[in-house]
């Protein structure tokens, strides 16, 4: 009997340990996913911040450029650069036949003509001379140089030919290939060519959308929270509003996209694909989040503050506006920032209102068509080119960087400025 009891006790202790282990492994799993995830994004994305350049000697032959003697700035601007650009690429292999010359040309981005032109515009004295110019490598060679390209695939399954690889390897051996920080990733708009694509347009699109969202959602939400928390009589109507807010907070984001499409675009005829519509849609989505946060922080202001103000003869409106609301602001603001961070990461509603359109200009106002960072991630992730994979990861890194900064900011506001009532 005693032995039985001991066995039972052992069994129970074992069960206790097992249960504990389950809990630990659950937490471990969750954290493992997180690390795996971040590791994956960083390991595929960090290389996008580097860009590969080919250093190619270019002879600025005045005849080929159709330039006369002592050309003016305008002449240089209008000169024909295609021939010298082609020639300088073709000269990389003097024995190249016509097909091979074409392949040589495709080793750099189609932007190469302009890069040569800029070189001359910077230094017009180069005419008639030869200079080594940095040309953006094509996205495939960029990937080859970064070691992300499956070179051992059979030739017909990859876009880089053996011939291009041979020439490229020669260039590498001669030190004519260089990798530099990829500024154009931050300054260029989207492009069909991976080596030229940048996040500037989607970044501005995101900024504009978030600003519109902030300008609409913040005042409305704060005013609504003040009413519901400080003035609303307790009746069925305010209960109804409350139920509405709680439900809206849990409505799937894509439904807000349908709202934007069906009401803002179809009925109000607002311009499609613009951060304006995107921002309004997002503001409707963040509204409940901010209202809930603002109410919570109004609720946290102790009644003694209100009573003191009322006792001094302030009206209810004065009490609220002069004392309660300012004291609740840190909490409200940090809730707002968290809501905005959510809105910044939102994709589906923006797709529905047409912010997925291919935009290769940088928007200058909320009324210009634009994408947003998460939508840009989606667009690039859907495109087949290998060069875009690292761009997606890099874009994700930028987006995550933003979200982390915003959340930290919210934390700081909360901890620094929020009064602790004991």
């Amino acid at each position: 009997m005693n032995k039985n009891k001991e066995q039972l006790l052992n069994k129970r202790y074992k069960a206790e340990q097992r249960f504990r282990l389950y809990g630990q492994s659950a937490i471990f799993m969750a954290l493992l996913f997180l690390t795996l995830f971040i590791f994956k994004i960083f390991s595929t994305g960090y290389s996008a911040f580097q860009k590969t350049w080919l250093i190619v000697p270019v002879t600025f032959d005045a005849e080929l450029m159709m330039l006369e003697k002592n050309p003016s700035k305008v002449d240089i601007q209008d000169a024909d650069y295609y021939d010298i650009a082609l020639k300088s690429m073709a000269d990389l292999d003097l024995n190249a036949n016509e097909d091979q010359e074409n392949e040589l040309k495709r080793m750099v981005s189609y932007f190469f003509e302009k890069e040569i032109k800029n070189e001359l515009l910077n230094d017009p004295s180069l005419i008639g001379k030869t200079k080594e110019v940095y040309l953006t490598a094509s996205d495939d060679l960029d990937q080859v140089f970064k070691g992300n390209y499956p070179r051992d695939l059979p030739e017909d399954q990859r876009r880089v030919s053996d011939y291009q690889l041979k020439i490229f390897d020669q260039l590498v051996a001669n030190g004519k290939v260089e990798s530099k920080f990829n500024i154009s990733f931050f300054t260029n708009a989207d492009s069909r060519e991976a080596e030229l694509a940048g996040i500037a347009s989607s970044f501005m699109g995101s900024i504009f959308s978030i600003l519109v969202c902030l300008m609409i959602a913040f005042p409305v939400a704060v005013l609504a929270a003040i009413y519901l928390e400080e003035f609303a009589p307790k009746n069925r109507f305010t209960d109804f509003i409350e139920v509405n807010i709680n439900n809206l907070a849990a409505v799937p984001s894509i439904v807000f996209g349908l709202l934007g499409l069906g009401v803002l675009l179809a009925i109000f005829q607002l311009p499609r694909s613009t951060p304006l519509v995107g921002g309004i849609t997002l503001s409707l989505m963040t509204l409940p989040t901010i209202i809930i946060a603002a109410r919570a922080s109004l609720k946290a202001v102790p009644p003694s503050i209100r009573e003191a103000a009322l006792a001094m003869g302030a009206s209810r409106m004065q009490t609220t506006m002069h004392h309660t609301v300012p004291l609740s602001m840190p909490g409200t603001l940090s809730g707002t920032i968290i809501g905005l961070a959510q809105a910044l990461g939102e994709t589906a509603p923006l797709i529905l209102i047409g912010m997925v359109a291919f935009v290769n200009t940088i928007p200058g106002s909320p009324m210009d068509p634009a994408a947003s960072l998460p939508v840009q991630i989606y667009i690039w992730a859907e495109s087949a080119e290998r060069g875009f994979v690292e761009k997606v990861s890099a874009c994700i890194m930028v987006l995550l960087g933003f979200l982390i900064t915003m959340n930290l900011f919210a934390q700081i506001i909360r901890h620094k400025f929020e009064k602790k009532w004991s």
Partner: protein, 461 residues
Amino acid sequence: MNLILFTFIVLLGFTSYYFGRKKAYTIQSTKKRLTALPQFYGYYLAIWCAIPAFIIFSLWAIFEPTIVKLLILSDYSNQGYLDDELNLIYEKTKALSRGQFTGEITPFIEASAEKYLSLRSIAQSSKVVIVLSAIIASVAYAYKRISSNSRTREPVEKFLNAVLFTASLAAILTTVGIVFSLIFQTIDFFKVIPLFDFVFGTHWYPAKAFVRDSSEALDPTMYSDTFGAVPIFAGTFFIAFIAMCVAIPIGLMSGIYLAEYASYKVRQYAKPLIEILAGIPTVVYGFFAALTVGPFLKELGTSMGLEVSAESALAAGGVMGIMIIPFISSLSDDVITSVPQSLRDGSYAMGATKSETIKRVIFPAALPGIVGSILLGVSRAIGETMIVVMASGLAANLTLNPLESTSTITAQIVVILIGDQAFGDPKTQAAFALGMSLFLVTLCLNIVALKVVKKYREKYE
């Protein structure tokens, strides 16, 4: 133009505030008692400046386009055009007046465009005049009231109260807007496709319903067997089920561990780290699922001799599950921590171990709250879009094999509505009908979940 006028009105508002306050000081200097603080005199005047401007502005925005359109189209009224054609003419006129017209310019349209431009300029200038005179009139009235030292605080506060109340209606307006945007398209959709076919049909090929030539009559038989939503609904719940299979055990166990076992230090770091998972945008999860998990599962399956689609329900559901872990863990953590200590103490006093206490006492006590959190998680899973769009297929297969690709309500909405939409087309309407069903399902889940959680909270408060 509007912007200049607007800035001007704002400036006027500030000036009236200043004058109102100044008036109050002059009244004060005559040793009369003020009825309110001097600022209120200022606010009073500023409000009287802003209200008429605002009202006229909004009325103008509502009625100007309609009236201009009526005036333009009155030229064409006796020529037997159809409504659609008239609308087209009006659109052309507008495009031409903006200089964005491409196509043949007929003298008729040119004349209309000129008329349109002149009407617009008349409207603009009359708007400026009307707004300004209304402001002057109402400010003059208010100034007179201030001068007679009548009450200002009460009206100002009443006005503020009204503003606050209006703001609180925003939530209701949003809900109304959602229902409104969904319901008309949905009704139109069910006029063409019988409800029965939608709910019980098993074939979903919206691509078959190509954009219809508007001159053709709508032929409902064309769409039979096109919009059967069963595969979509099944796919949605299937992927949500897979997600919950990942999220419930991990989320619940981490919630329990954090609430009952973890030391303060572990809790302090682990909880926010897990919550980071909730803050990662879903498009990032989608990319992760499509780029890493999908190919990984495919390779794993091939090595075991299974045929796995690169875009499998398992990949999408699994990653979605990871996303939902923090929702369940935080909520169940909260729920478990709010179970009264006396229940635990009672159980320990009877000699129960910690895990026995959790399993037999705390878990049953916290069950309603946990169920509520799980329901909220399910509602998230059903409404999740980007992961499915990117990682699971877009073809609607009716299958229960997690290794094949399936599609969901949200993914189909995106597929249908990405790019240009033609309103009035059954395909577009189908997306709204799907949106309606999604809204209703998540609404029910949310209401039930919130009720359950609320009831549970009240029980222990």
